[in-house]
């Protein structure tokens, strides 16, 4: 096999892995986009919501006979779905008890539209979740074991003439399909239903929405709960491939914010592509850079895009002054 073929093979392989990982990042970002992009709430605990989603999936997998009934292959994905309602409720309660005090119509008169207060409140929540999880679940790395994560489909795209062999990790393929389906479902919910319309109205102009009879506080709460559940599901999916601990959220919260900003604040689909792009950047940076600098590349790309195209790749309205 020539050097050229090796290069082609490794580039295509990186592309595949980047797209598969990126789809998952995209789903995380979509969850944050509901909260930060649309409702303009700065949530630093989003990574920890994801961590909770990972543990919820882990325990759902072990409990309720899911693993026994559906088997280890399918069971993990059933567990992700089973954990989602719990995370939806969790997001709803967190908003009802705490977040609503520093968001929506309450922010009038607060400095920086309440962003200071949101930031510090969610930092507090993040600290409680990280350390609480350590007390409850321990600090060890755990993972959801599914045989699929070590199996792959091998494909020879160019046939006999050019022996290039590409691997599709089975678990990652399923995960990417799952996240694509979840995002399409969410997009339909937002675009087509009355609920989605009231969410968009509340996000666009809270005051005008109030006059139109929309309960803005409730709309925010629903968006917050959905955002929490979507990111948590992405976490559950990630857990099938990736060992995690209570402090895993810190790593991903940056990726999520980078993805949302890259895609354009305010755009759900944009956030997905933003996350996808980050997955690709991360994979391709391995061509030229040592692994320790992979994440640094994400930040550099993030900075470049923010400076050259601050409205993001897909966003339209940059700022509402």
């Amino acid at each position: 096999m020539s050097d050229f073929q090796i290069l082609i093979e490794s580039i295509l392989q990186l592309l595949i892995t980047g797209v598969l990982v990126g789809a998952l990042y995209g789903m995380m970002c979509v969850g944050l986009a509901m909260i930060f992009g649309i409702m303009r709430v700065i949530n630093f605990a989003q990574g920890d919501f994801m961590m909770l989603g990972m543990y919820a999936t882990y325990f759902a997998f072990g409990a309720f006979g899911i693993q026994a009934f559906f088997g280890a292959e399918l069971g993990a994905y059933v567990a992700v779905i089973a954990a989602a309602p719990a995370m939806l409720l969790f997001g709803w309660i967190i908003h009802r008890l705490m977040i609503r005090r520093v968001t929506g119509t309450r922010t009038a008169g607060m400095e920086a539209d309440g962003h200071y207060a949101q930031l510090i409140l969610t930092l507090g929540i993040a600290l409680i979740l990280q350390n609480g999880a350590m007390i409850l679940f321990g600090a060890d790395l755990i993972s959801i074991r599914t045989p699929l994560s070590s199996e792959a489909w091998a494909i020879e795209p160019f046939g006999e003439s050019m022996p290039v062999l590409l691997f599709f990790n089975k678990s990652r393929v399923l995960t990417a399909l799952f996240s694509a389906a979840a995002i399409i479902a969410l997009w339909m919910l937002i675009q087509r239903t009355f609920l989605g319309k009231s969410l968009r109205a509340a996000a666009d102009n809270a005051e005008a929405a109030t006059y139109m009879g929309i309960n803005v506080d409730k709309a925010h709460r629903i968006a917050f709960a959905i955002g929490t559940a979507v990111t948590a599901m992405a976490g559950g999916l990630l857990a099938t491939n990736y060992p995690f601990s209570p402090f895993v959220g810190l790593e991903y919260v940056i990726i999520m914010y980078a993805g949302v900003v890259l895609g354009g604040i305010g755009s759900i689909i944009g956030a997905f592509w933003g996350g996808m792009l980050i997955g690709l950047i991360q994979q391709f940076s391995t061509l030229a850079l040592p692994t320790q600098l992979q994440n640094a590349t994400i930040f550099v790309c993030f900075l470049l895009v923010v400076m050259l195209r601050p409205q993001g790749l897909f966003g339209r309205n940059v700022e509402r002054t």
């Binding site: 303009r40 700065i42 200071y116 350590m134 600090a139 900003v261 992979q294 923010v306």
Partner: protein, 588 residues
């Protein structure tokens, strides 16, 4: 520095002395360390406050500076044997340089984008230091004359060093608060556009602030490394470090030097003691309790303890801080009698020629020309969306015209920056009021006077004079947060006047005012006009304007509909059509 400044610092020095007396009795080395860390985190919080607290630009990335200072100090001693005494000050320079390098590109961004971009710097640095092969570095022990390398067996000496440093930073913060520097930063926080319109070169001040803030943060990091001995990229560049600056500051209250001090004094001991007492059998309990404390406090007092307590004390003394209720505007359309026609000074001070502005396909302003005589009052009216505010933005440089020229006193000023127009004597107010609610009326106005004032005394004299002109001298020392809409409008007018303009552009100064209040404001504007200031005022209602203006310019869909004397314009069929629609023209 005036008496109030000295007094507040006296309180701080008394507390500092008490703290040191307490520290001198502590013999347990762990508690000595806690007492030092309280001070270091307070300094770090203060450095964050100098930048983010005063300018309102939230930095999630102050760990960049902290970490650079810490690593510079440790590595310089490892590789070159440089003493931390020296590196402490060199770190300040490195931090300031890092501040400028980070600030220069990042200041292009606003709001969320700025805050999030700042987050990326320390994390990128963290990975770079890991990659460079410094997963953990420690200060080499020096046996020969350890004091020359800032190494002491008695932990209380570190507490003393940190306290001296803290005192210096507090004095510096207080001096900034009371200076033109602080006022400029606060003006930027209030409304960056308004600050620029008031003649402040915002980029320059922001760079100064981040350089100073970065320098102090790096020095805090340097001291931290010396005290804690072992550092890792995670422990000095990590997100928790950036969070620490915000947490202590916002817990105590942002925008005041007391905030970081109060926050640090409460939170650091709680966290450390919990860690020491319970950390063995409940790892993470410190974080949980710390988190709960933050959540409870922020839900009860979202602006921080300092402001909560201060507002509570003030309300007890009857100085209300309640936001002013929006007064109901009167809905009368009865035209008031027009002012008498007067002869205009033939000198033209503002000459607008063929001004146009397109936003894509939308022609917001089309071929608008008009002349303004010295000392006259020109009213620009038109329905919502007629292009009035866009026209003002073109006149004072916020937006660049697609075509056309603006002559101010015969000099073409089209396409100049807002602060240049301000220096050329064009002042303006804004449709949306942005007072700095926790500052006195006088300080609000003082911000505007720095355009021409050479020193503090002159700035104060100009501010007092401006307040007298609008008739607000009697409430000069009240907080702006408690003012009525009318007084806020007058205060903004005074702020524009403080720049000593000879042409004033007023954007909907009468909006939201009741009938009597409008009459009062009209009287003030007339007085200004009589004193020689030329006034151009935008309004979309006509009734109060008829009493005020010498001439009207009517805009609709970005074009001049008509121009003329008030009594003629109000009877013009085209004007009535623009306002009320076609069917009213027949009835008029």
């Amino acid at each position: 520095m005036n008496m109030a400044v000295l007094k507040s610092i006296r309180v701080f020095f008394a507390l500092a002395l008490a703290y040191m007396v307490l520290a001198s009795f502590v013999t347990n080395s762990y508690y000595q360390l806690i007492m030092t860390l309280v001070l270091i985190w307070a300094i770090f919080g203060l450095s964050w406050n100098i930048f983010s607290g005063y300018t309102g630009l939230v930095s999630f990335g102050h760990a960049s500076f902290f970490g650079i200072g810490a690593f510079a100090t440790v590595l310089a001693q490892i590789f070159w044997g440089l003493s931390p005494w020296l590196m402490f000050f060199i770190s300040g320079g490195i931090g300031a340089l890092a501040g400028v390098l980070i600030g220069f590109p990042t200041f292009k961004l606003r709001g969320h984008y700025f805050a999030l971009s700042m987050l990326a710097y320390p994390l990128a640095l963290m990975y770079v230091f890991q990659w460079l092969g410094f997963p953990e570095v420690s200060i080499p022990r020096v046996t020969d004359n350890p004091a020359a390398y800032m190494q002491f067996s008695d932990g209380r000496i570190y507490t003393l060093i940190a306290m001296v440093f803290l005192c210096a930073v507090v004095v510096l913060s207080r001096a900034i608060e009371a200076s033109r520097f602080g006022m400029a930063l606060i003006a930027i926080k209030q409304n960056e556009a308004a600050a620029e319109a008031a003649g402040i070169d915002t980029l320059r001040w922001k760079l100064k602030a981040i350089a100073l803030s970065g320098g102090i943060a790096a020095m805090a990091g340097s001291l931290y490394a010396v005290v804690i001995l072992v550092i890792t990229p995670q422990s000095v560049f990590g997100m928790l470090v950036s969070a620490q600056a915000l947490t202590v500051t916002m817990f105590g209250g942002a925008g005041t030097l007391w905030g970081p001090i109060i926050g640090s004094a409460f939170l650091i001991p709680i966290a450390e003691i919990l860690h020491a007492e319970l950390g063995n059998f409940l790892p993470g309990i410190q974080g949980v309790v710390y988190g709960i404390a933050i959540v409870v406090l922020i839900t009860a007092a979202p602006e921080g303890m300092f402001w909560k307590v201060r507002d509570w004390l003030r309300s007890g003394r009857g100085e209300t801080l309640a936001a002013s209720a929006e007064e109901t505007p009167t809905a009368t359309v009865t035209p008031l009698p027009a002012r008498e026609t007067r002869d205009l000074n033939p000198e033209i001070v503002l000459d607008v020629r063929n001004m146009s502005k397109n936003f894509g396909g939308l022609k917001a302003v089309q071929d608008v020309s008009f002349k303004v005589n010295k000392g006259m009052i020109l009213g620009i009216i038109g329905p919502n969306g007629a292009g009035k505010t866009t026209l003002f933005n073109l006149l004072n440089g916020f937006q660049l015209p697609s075509e056309g020229e603006v002559y101010v006193d015969g000099v073409n000023m089209a396409r100049r920056k807002p602060h240049e127009l301000c220096h050329a004597g064009v002042g303006r107010t804004f449709q949306i009021m942005r007072p700095f609610t926790r500052m006195s009326v006088r300080d609000n106005v003082k911000v505007g006077s720095y355009v021409t004032a050479k020193d503090e005394a002159e700035a104060e004299a100009i501010a007092d004079n401006a307040l007298r002109q609008v008739g607000l001298s009697h409430i000069a020392h009240q907080l702006a947060g408690g003012l009525s809409t009318k007084d806020l409008r007058l205060m903004e007018l005074a702020r524009a006047l403080a720049g000593r303009p000879h042409i004033l552009l007023l954007d909907e100064t009468l909006a939201g005012l009741g009938k009597e209040e409008a009459v009062e404001v009209v009287a003030v504007i007339r007085r200004l006009s009589a004193s020689g200031v030329t006034v151009v005022i935008i309004e979309h209602t006509m009734h109060a304007m008829v009493q005020l203006v010498d001439r009207f310019l009517v805009l609709d869909h970005g074009q001049v509909v008509t121009e003329g004397l008030p009594q003629d314009v109000t009877r013009d069929a085209r004007v009535i059509e623009a306002y009320l629609g076609k069917k009213w023209v027949a009835n008029a």
